[in-house]
Amino acid sequence: MRRFFLLILMLAMSRAGSGRAATNDFFASGITAIHNGNFLDAVGGFQKSVRQQPATGALVNLGLAEWQRGHAGAAILAWEQARWIDPFDERAAQNLKFARMAAQADEPQLKWFEAASVWLPPNAWLWIAGASWWLTVGALMLPGIFRWKKSGWLSALAALGFAVFLFSLTANVGVVSRTNIGFVLKKNAPLLLTPTRTGEIISTLNAGEPVRRQRTRGDYCFISSANGSGWIESKAFGLVAAR
């Protein structure tokens, strides 16, 4: 039995190692291509690296390559995704500030609970919620089970855990809500009245403009943006938390 577990552990480690090695290979090829000025190949390399395993560095470099190709929308999306993984990434923050100034694109308007969720990586909020919940449950149940003496610090710990849990709950709602935020990829992407190819164009959206997905119908998504609401082709924008 012990050998079986060891075998599974070794297999899992080797699989994770091979995936990381492939990611590094694609990343290195992207770096080489961008140094040679071949931005198309660089984008391909970084995209493969991100597809293999999303990483902040690969996304930052992907955004730089897309920016050099003139794809402001794709660049902003890549840097937003880097910030999604790590809100403290300085390169992504600096590039986003620059890109929004150069491309005249707005920042997404976040609700209060979404703004709170930006403080930490999305998964961290869930771990905090889980830990604080079980801490609260443990602080309430374990003294009774183990017949510990009732003490003030245990009650305080339970109260603190529950408070953290409540706050992290709102942040988690914000994280889920932010998964519907996307950015327009194509320049002058048409905002349509109906989800059809021949639909009437309400307005056009700039590359890099933030939009919020409401619902999906076929190849079109109903989105709301600063320029109004309407249908947009799914390929014309990208979600930050893409699958």
Binding site: A55, T56, R69, A72, F98, V137, G144, A242, R243
Partner: protein, 618 residues
């Protein structure tokens, strides 16, 4: 609104200074004019030779000669009616010709003509031409009927009146002399002949149709005017007309003929009948005519007779649409496409690039329809106006790496199949419009500060995650939360059990007794196997005490034989006797004459029965 026109009054009273300025301006204008004319003079030496505009033959004449006007004077229309030929044999074909000097729409021609029953009327034709009389054109409308007399005799179509432009016009009577069948042959009626390059054709396949007017006896040739090829379901292309006088095969005899050749395209499937009609025009040849046969062109005024032909049947088959390839535009024939040539293979987004494609054909090329521009998401494709076959391509994105393939095919009538002529995709590099990488920045005092710029490249992949999809939207984390929940559940169950056992200590004692009894039984078996009688009775007594202790409750060592006997169902039976013997033997070890081991080991089966009985009560 303010009037912007200058008054001439102010010009007349100009000041001296103004006159001086104007004179200087005039001198400057003159010098500029001199330079301009000099440039013009020298420019003529650099100017390339200009070709004169290419006009079709006859076009210059049309430009130079004033066209005579059409005679629309209210003169009364006149009419003639004859049989051509006026005499013949029974059963031979003749034509009843009526000519009215009026336009065709103005003549209200009767649907049926009253004629003797022996004259069988066949197909009729009508046409109009403009006859040049003096310095005016006069319209002439002709009606021609094919007539076959069935009997000999003299027949007359009497005069009748038709309405021409609201005025009655009398059509004179016409006589026909018909001889018996066995009489000598008379000259045949003049009529046109129609030939086609192919009579079994596909829908849309162009066919060359020749209208022939054989020469009269003595090789006299006449021109044809207002030639029409009639028949439903065909389209005549008059831009490819060719006229000639050449030797043709007429019923096995070679003789000169006037030939009018045009391209006809069937536009309906099924059997089609073509007929031709034309006016004879003597020596009035309209357009270029190549004469390659020895003929005589007679002088004198022309005679405008409307001639018709026997019908020619075309069998038109529909195209095999089941094998049709994409990009069919109706091109029919044998075509070969050259390799497409792109002006450049490195372009920017939005920059047009020319794609040249040349098609070569065999046979009739007038029906070649160039490929249509397909719709593409990534390219704007503009086709050159036909008959050019090139395209202008404009990339809309830099994601493309090839030009779009342009589907095209043609139908080869000879092989009866579609031929793929798709213009293949060509590799191309599209460069996107670059964006700025540095921006000037200003502080609050509007002074230029450190410029904003993009960051450098990240040297390593950095912080990684398994997926951009957050754990909140994945089921795995919820499953993970079951682990601490299960741990707490186990703890809770353990606490409940512990509390229960605390409330019921006999359960613990019985469990402990059963555990100790199992151990003593093992020791008992070992003593038995070793033949140790002393040890056997010691362990047997101990086991019995352990099995009985929870019932009192008491420590096993505190029990004696009587208390063990009290737990038996029948203390005076065999089991009780065995207990007594065991306890007696155990106690006798402390006596002076202990029992022999053989006697004690013989109690083994009885001891086991007692122990099983006691264990059953635990």
């Amino acid at each position: 609104m303010k009037n912007l026109q200058h008054s001439t009054f102010t010009l007349e009273r100009r000041s001296f200074g103004a006159r001086t300025v104007e004179r200087r301006a005039f001198n400057i204008e003159c010098s500029r004019l001199k330079i301009f004319f000099l440039i013009l003079l020298f420019a003529t030496f650099r100017a390339p030779a200009q070709l004169p505009p290419q006009l079709p033959p006859g076009g210059l004449i049309q430009l130079q000669v004033a066209q005579p006007p059409v005679d629309n004077s209210p003169l009364p229309a006149t009419a003639t009616a004859v049989f051509d030929p006026p005499a013949g044999r029974a059963g031979e074909k003749t034509f009843y010709r009526v000519t009215v000097t009026a336009t065709e729409p103005s003549v209200q021609w009767p649907k049926k003509i009253a004629a003797p029953a022996e004259l069988k009327f066949g197909n009729g034709a009508r046409g109009q031409m403009m006859q040049l009389l003096g310095n005016r054109y006069r319209p002439v409308t002709a009606f021609t009927y094919e007539v076959r007399p069935t009997a000999a005799g003299r027949f007359t179509i009497s005069n009748f009146v038709v309405n021409v432009a609201g005025q009655p016009v009398k059509i004179p009577a016409a006589n026909l002399e018909i001889l018996p069948v066995n009489s000598p042959p008379s000259p045949a009626a003049r009529e046109l002949e129609v030939e086609a390059s192919a009579t079994n054709v596909f829908l849309g396949q162009p066919v060359r149709v020749r209208v022939l007017l054989p020469a009269s006896p003595g090789n006299g040739i006449e021109a044809l005017r207002e030639v029409q090829i009639n028949g439903g379901g065909v389209m005549t292309d008059k831009t490819s007309v060719r006229q000639a006088v050449e030797t043709v095969n007429d019923g096995g005899q070679r003789k000169p003929a006037f030939v009018y050749e045009a391209t006809v395209t069937p536009i309906a499937a099924g059997p089609l009948q073509l007929t031709a009609q034309a006016f004879t025009a003597g020596r009035e040849f309209g357009g270029p005519v190549s004469i390659t046969a020895p003929v005589v062109i007679r002088s004198g005024p022309p005679r405008y007779d409307l001639l018709v032909s026997e019908p020619l049947e075309l069998k038109v088959r529909p195209l095999p649409t089941e094998s049709e390839l994409p990009g069919f535009t109706g091109a029919m024939g044998v075509f070969i496409a050259d390799k497409p040539q792109l002006a450049t293979n490195r372009i920017h987004v939005g920059e047009p690039v020319r794609l040249r494609v040349a098609f070569h054909g065999v046979g009739i090329l007038s029906r070649f329809v160039p490929p249509a521009a397909p719709r593409s998401r990534d390219w704007q494709i503009i086709a050159d106006p036909p008959p050019a076959t090139g395209f202008t391509l404009i990339p809309l994105t830099d994601d493309v790496q090839t030009t779009p393939a342009i589907p095209f095919c043609a139908f080869n009538p000879a092989a009866g199949e579609f031929v793929d002529l798709t213009i293949p995709a060509l590799p191309v590099t599209v460069i996107g419009n670059s964006l700025p990488t540095q921006l000037p920045a200003f502080d609050e005092a509007e002074n230029q500060s450190a410029s904003l710029k993009l960051s450098g490249l990240a040297p390593s992949p950095g912080k990684m995650v398994a997926s951009l999809q957050p754990l909140q939207l994945r089921g795995g984390f919820i499953a993970l939360q079951l682990v601490p929940a299960f741990g707490f559940l186990v703890l809770w169950q353990w606490d409940r059990r512990r509390r229960f056992l605390a409330a019921h200590p006999e359960i613990v004692r019985r469990r402990q007794a059963r555990r100790s009894l199992r151990k003593e039984k093992v020791k008992l078996q070992k003593a038995m196997a070793a033949g140790d009688g002393k040890g056997f009775v010691q362990h047997a007594a101990e086991a019995m005490k352990i099995a009985c202790a929870p019932h009192f409750p008491a420590h096993p060592r505190a029990l004696v034989c009587g208390e063990v006997l009290a737990q038996l169902e029948d203390p005076r039976g065999a089991a009780g006797e065995t207990v007594r013997k065991v306890f007696a033997a155990a106690d006798s070890q402390f006596a002076g004459t202990p029992q022999t081991p053989a006697d004690l080991l013989a109690l083994h089966s009885d001891v086991m029965v007692v122990l099983n009985q006691l264990e059953g009560k635990l």
